[in-house]
Structures are given as structure tokens and as C-alpha cells.
Amino acid sequence: MVGASAAGLAAAETLRREGYDGTLTLVGDEPQAPYDRPPLSKQVLAAQWQPARLALRPPADLAALDLDLRLGVAATGLELTERTVRLADGTEVPYDGLIVATGVRPRRLPGAGAHVLRTLDDALVLRDRLGPGVRLVVVGAGFLGAEAAAVAWRLGAKVTLLEPAAVPLAHAVGAEVGALLARAHVERGVDLRCGVTASEVTEDGVRLADGELVESDEVLVAVGSQPNTEWLEGSGLAVGDGVVCDEYCEAARNVYAAGDVARWHNPLFGTSMRIEHRTNAAEQGMAAARNLLRPDTRKPFAPVPYFWSDQYDMKIQAYGYLRGHDEVAVVDGDLAEGRFVAAYRTGGGLSGALAVGMPPRVLRVWRQAIAAGAAWGEAVRTDATVAGA
């Protein structure tokens, strides 16, 4: 396994659990033992948790996997025909099977001095800069930017949130739900500025495309990420916004990919996707490991993606593949009260459901319907309120 985080660790554990007792090498370029990222923009940034709480497994459980663990060293190349992975320290690791789980890294803006938020170090550095009265500009009001803005606001920072779209997250969750999430910022006095493009980070803040300078003490750039695939260049593996895999998560013979870095064909939705969600990383790591170990009984990886996000007092949870949806309908609760379930239609099918403030059993029913490939007309009563109407 290359990449020692959620997906790589899940793959390693699955291989052991399913009886593989040969050599298992886990390579990761970060020095820390595998740790969890979602708390970085939540409890860690809020200084509620110490870093030790993020360990994905206690040291004893990790030791029990009997890994050849190579931490703090990057993979720099792959030889498909020789079946070896080259490492930055000059060593070569031979393999019979390979799982690529190198994740993604943040995109940046031109100019120096801005924070990003992907690693434990990133979170600790930003945490130490936040506090009452600190002027923070967050570039990008996606899930990550919104979570960080919410925490910084709670810590007393003066937060400005810059977003190029007219409504934050509209492409992901629809304009109506996006507007509700936007309202949460505005109501608390976070200065949300939509329809503005940040072009550069300067010593004094963020320069917008129209020349205006938004002054700040600290800048967090949260404008999306790019897959860590450079080390695969020239290897012959197909790379195109992620490692390109089939429905089994296989990229080449005995080479699989999992987690944020993997682009695979999800037969449940009939489309190629790359998912940057925590549960997908574990589930895909497990699926890739099983398919690698038992090719004769391998199964297509056809999950219902799931994610959550914590923003202010809201917990947002969603199942399915909402991107590119054609219609949104509020099917339970009330959007205005911030307690609701919204269902998403793509073509003729139910493609997703998003809930805020609803008990879990309500959403579970929707997950079931998405997993069953329910038609829109069956799943959603035609008298359901159309969001925003």
C-alpha cells in the first residue's frame, strides 16, 4: 500500500483480516502513524482535541498488523513490468499486489504566506494563529472553508469568506440548500462575499481579480484539491483527475487504487467518480484489498457515498451522488427551520439525499432507496414541496 492514511490502513487491515499472512508494506510520506483528518477542521482547529486523539489505531493494534511500515518516505516511482515501487530514500519495494492510496493535496493560490488545511501540521499552525480579533480571510466557501470559518468565528476571529460562485456549494447541494448554509454564516456576522474571485495572496491579505485588496492577518486557502499522482508519471497507469480504475477499483493487473486519489466506475450510478469522503476511503480500501486478494470472487465497488460536515450548530449528512443533479425537493421537515431532508433527482432516478437536524432513521430510509436504485417518481411523492418554491 502506498499512502498511509484512511484508505491505505483499511486495505492493510482487510488483507490481514481476510487471512493474508505474507509481507505487507505500508509506505507513507508523513512522519506520523496513520491519523484521521476530519477532526482537523473541527476539534483540532478549535483546540478541543490534542493530536494524540487523531490516531486511527492505538499503537498496539497497529503493531498487531505486523506491517513493514515505512513512514516519512515518499514513493517516487512505479515500475509496472518489474513490479517495484521506488522510494525517495533510494530503496525499491517489490510487490505482487499494489494499492495506490496517496490521496489529494490542497490547491493553492499564487503568492506566499497562506495556510492550507490538509495535514496535522497545517491544522496546528493555523490553530495557533486564531483567536479573538484576528482577521481571517478564508478563500473558498466549500465544506472545508465553511467548517474552518465556523470554528474561527467561534474562537472570536473576524472572518471573511470569499466565494466565486453566486451561492456557496450550489454545484454540490443545490442553490436552495446552499443558500441555507450561507445564511448560517451571515447571521453570525461572518462577512460572506459571493461572486468574487481571489487571484493572489499578498503580505496584507488577498488580492481579488478586480484589484481590490481584502486585508487580513491570516489567509486560509480552501479552493479544492488535486490528486497525488505525480509519482505515477511514466508508469503506464492511466491518470486523469485521479488514478483511473474499472468498477473493481483495478487500474492495471494487480494494481488497485482507493480513497481520494481513485477515480473508478461506480455501477450503481453508472458513472465514473472520485470521492473525497472519509467513509469512502475506508470502504474503497477494503474493497480493493478484497478484490486484490481474491480475484476469482471479486465484486464491483458500488457504494452509496456518504459524507457529513459540521458547521456551527448544524450537522449536515448526505448520501448518494449529488453532483450534477437536475432537481432538489424538500421531502421532510422544513428548510427554513434548518431541519429537513432534501432529495436529489438526476435523470429519472433518485441520486441523493441530504439532511440537517433529522434523526438517523429518517435518512437511513433514503439511503436504502438510493442503494436500491429507486426511480424518482417512486421515491418522492409528487406533492413534495420543491425546494425554494
Binding site: 487491515e13 475506508a282 449528512q317
Partner: protein, 64 residues
């Protein structure tokens, strides 16, 4: 084997309930509840699956 759940790490994903509904449930806020902290041996595979899919690393199996 005993199941341990760190409820304050739980993010209410419900993955454990999908994997092992005889062992886990969720309260109205979605936080996981242990129905059975010493599950029967035939449930252990489901519990291990729940541990693997929990996105908060909130579940553990410990030897007694």
C-alpha cells in the same frame, strides 16, 4: 471480546448500524449506542466490519 465505543468521537454516520445492527444503534442525535458490549462469537465478524468502516475510529474490540 469486549466492544468499546468512544461516544465523544462518534460522528453519527450510522455505518456501524449498517454493519452490525445487532450490536449498534443510534440515538436521536445519531450518536452510536452499544446494544451488546460482549457480543456472541458469531457477531464478531460484523463488529470487525463496523470497526473498519467507522469514519471516526470510535470503536474497538479488546481482549478481556
Amino acid at each position: 471480546m469486549k466492544v468499546e465505543l468512544e461516544a465523544d468521537k462518534c460522528v453519527a454516520s450510522g455505518q456501524c448500524v449498517l454493519a452490525a445492527m445487532d450490536v449498534f444503534d443510534q440515538d436521536d442525535d445519531g450518536i452510536a449506542i452499544l446494544l451488546e458490549d460482549e457480543p456472541a462469537p458469531e457477531l464478531l465478524d460484523d463488529v470487525k466490519e463496523a470497526i473498519a468502516v467507522c469514519p471516526a475510529a470510535a470503536i474497538r474490540l479488546v481482549e478481556q
